[in-house]
Symmetry: C2
Subunit: 304 residues, 2 copies
């Protein structure tokens, strides 16, 4: 199971009633935060999932609306009695940004591990139960998108164990991935496992123009969280200039990447009623949802 | 006239429903902001006085809850089309902090003037209509308190002008502070002005232990905004350890400094109902008010 909450839906600056865009993912007690704008720690407090178990922070890029909350969040995390290492990853420039963050929030009581994403991207980096993939997108500064997968192990198949005439007292060892020596022959756990099972995948892309790497990141996601800075197609010129996307551009990617569901977010401060553009964008990709602050979803493994 | 608004009342971290402590002062279209924590720009937006005319930012110290909002605020100020210089002042360490802020918010379209307050403090520094005084207080890091005064000019006294037999056509020049040459004798503006008139004074002290310099800063203020981290006297040991104040300690200063009114603020996140301690603190200083987010007051010149 993978739980996610969209902590905010704003871009550029926090507004009364609209937090800055950030995402929290939770799986088996370990959490990943994507981006940390001004006020993200307040949204986390409102959400109520706690913060002590945030083990990874993925930063998309270093514009103020995505990182200004870091010094305050990291200080509050220190006050939450966390003493275990936290991993912070982001595109090139991470060390310079984190040095500035640490000037504003020195003396944190836990170690920080920094992972700067190489230009070729990050392929299936695993941390805890998560598999993280990251690719560079196209914004006015170096910017990356992320996919986060929770893989699902193959199931123990008692029929296979019976075929191999394995006594029941050995099953538990094999279920846990161990091997046994039976009648002089080694039997590995994978010999008694069922077929591959699909896991869960979410993806997160903001801020960017609609480049091919987004499709690679979000391909067949259960949930794709994507920026939609402007609702109307009339803002194409502005989107080109600011390196952002229109709702319709995001929807075209969602469709071609065969995602299950898309949440739009990172709305321009001037976009007061994003819902007004939903109907039109649903013509492109039906399962589009206009993001709302603190919206949450529980993704469950499919029965297979 | 001097308008003030207390933008928040929290200390340590922003909470849902409680912004971090900061103050906005407005006089004749020019504004001063004291401190800029995470979310201060959202409070400013809610208040609705605009931000473009904030000419000075006074920082008390560099703990995250007082400065984390700077990169976001300064970026938003850039988006507000401000192109005029802004002055930022604060205790020693200002340049290092501002360098870090500028890593997070580069390319601001206006110049920033930095004024690091010398160890002996700042005596009646004037900027626009404001006279700013600052002294070092006692916290776990270098920290200063501020007083902001708006002085009031002496009034033109027509009786004095008549006594000196000055023709009415010269009065306007003298009223504006000019001088005239009349019958071979120079007459200065101040010869026809009435008595000194009292101006307006507000003062702001947080975070600190109750040291003598606070009294010097807030002496006879019309409004004294003061930290009260803890409501109950039972927290004295914690206040001593964290270098903060109890409500009762703040009230004793307000009384001895003969201020007109005191607003308490910068409440500990664990202090849920500061109002519960009001009655007891009023026994020490009657005109104490428990601060509330976005509380405002218009201070008017006294008739004299």
């Amino acid at each position: 199971m993978l739980k996610v909450s969209l902590l905010g839906t704003g871009g550029t600056m926090p507004l009364p009633g609209r937090n800055l865009t950030a995402l929290l993912c939770k799986c088996k007690g370990s959490m990943i935060l994507i981006d940390c704008g001004e006020g993200t720690q307040v949204a986390l407090k409102e959400l109520g999932w706690g913060i002590k178990n945030i083990d990874v922070i993925c930063l998309t890029h270093y514009h103020p609306d995505h990182i200004v909350g870091l010094p305050g969040f990291l200080s509050t995390l220190g006050n939450s009695e966390r003493r275990e290492k936290i991993t912070i990853m982001g595109p090139k420039g991470l060390h310079k940004i984190m040095e500035a963050v640490m000037v504003m929030a020195p003396y944190l009581p836990y170690p920080i591990e920094l992972l700067e994403i190489p230009v070729e991207g990050l392929e299936h980096f695993s941390i805890g139960n998560y598999y993280i993939k990251s690719l560079y997108l196209e914004h006015s500064v170096p910017c990356v998108g992320y996919s986060i997968e929770v893989k699902r192990g193959r199931k123990f198949d008692p029929n296979k164990a019976k075929e191999l005439i394995i006594p029941v007292e050995y099953w538990n060892t094999l279920q846990k991935g161990g091997s046994i020596l039976l009648n002089g022959k080694t039997i590995e756990g994978n010999e008694v496992l069922g077929p591959e099972r699909s896991g869960l995948k979410i993806s997160y892309c903001t801020d960017t123009r609609p480049v091919e790497n987004i499709k690679e990141i979000c391909y067949k996601s259960d949930l794709f969280i994507c920026e939609g800075m402007y609702g109307s197609d009339d803002y194409l010129e502005r989107a080109l200039g600011n390196k952002h996307m229109l709702f319709s551009e995001a929807a075209k990617i969602a469709k071609s990447a065969e995602v299950n569901e898309m949440w739009l977010t990172h709305f321009s401060p001037s976009l007061n009623e994003p819902e007004g553009y939903l109907e039109k964008v649903k013509d492109i990709f039906e399962n589009t949802i206009i993001g709302e602050d603190l919206m949450e979803k529980e993704l469950k493994f499919k029965e297979n």
